[in-house]
Subunit: 130 residues, 2 copies
DNA sequence: CTTGACCTTGCCCCTGGGGGAAGGCCCATT
DNA sequence: AATGGGCCTTCCCCCAGGGGCAAGGTCAAG
């Protein structure tokens, strides 16, 4: 099948598929006589795997490692778990970072009257030396 | 003062200062006879303002709008509040997105034995059609 | 006068693709 | 047989926010 159908079936955009090929996350697809990329059902399964992993926030190198482990019958679940736990920690860190931003910003927003006067707690908070 | 001192005092890297100038977030600094950028105390205050706004996660265009409002004596606090609340919503959205990732990934990690066998709930979860 | 610390511009790199241009291919309809 | 539109191809620019490095200019102290 051609890239459009592979895209529709896998949920990965055409653009992303070509990008994944360019960064060698997936193998270069075979070509038809017309020069079109040609995909098999198996290729689509790999794309779906990648799509789900990306959806969980794994970066391209991380997804690459996951795909390699998936294909490797000699893997250990410990290897996979280590990778996933490291990613989970990154997620937790980002959540904490965003919550810290929210916790800093929220009180400023609450104290800003939001009326027609120029006085604003948000600008004051940003301007003042802490 | 030159860029190095302005950087030290404001907490914004030399590189970032030049970058902010190139994207017109700040005005182009004056130059000494030797061609070095020259900063005043006021410039440093603006950089500190920017640094704090960036620390709260505001994007460059958002920071630009905040700086403009800060300088504008005819602003209304409603304008500032609107901008801040929109950003706050973006933060909340990102937090929710990351929490959803965590909530999907965590049960898989918990069910992965992490031993020397290849069977792994994480890979199974990514591979299976949902 | 030399040395080292600072400054300058400029270029390529990163993430993860999106958007769009210019041109080639294929199928169905007229 | 021709044509139209819907695919496909490669190529390049764009986003944030700089990092890193190169080649060279400047300045103050010893």
């Amino acid at each position: 099948m051609k890239i459009g159908e592979a895209s529709d079936q896998s949920g990965v955009s055409r653009k992303a598929i070509r990008y994944y090929e360019s960064v060698k996350l997936i193998e270069a697809a075979g070509r038809t006589t017309a020069g079109y990329r040609d995909y098999s059902e198996k290729d689509v399964e790999i794309l779906k795997f990648i799509s789900r992993a990306r959806g969980l926030g794994f970066s391209i190198p991380e997804v690459s490692a996951l795909v390699d482990l998936w294909k490797d019958q000699n893997r250990t679940s410990a290897q996979v778990k280590e990778l996933a736990m490291a990613h989970l920690q990154q997620i937790e860190n980002k959540i904490a970072e965003l919550q810290a931003m929210r916790d800093s910003l929220l009180p400023l927003v609450d104290r800003c009257p939001g009326d027609n006067n120029p006085d604003c707690a948000i600008l004051n908070g940003l301007a003042q030396r802490k």
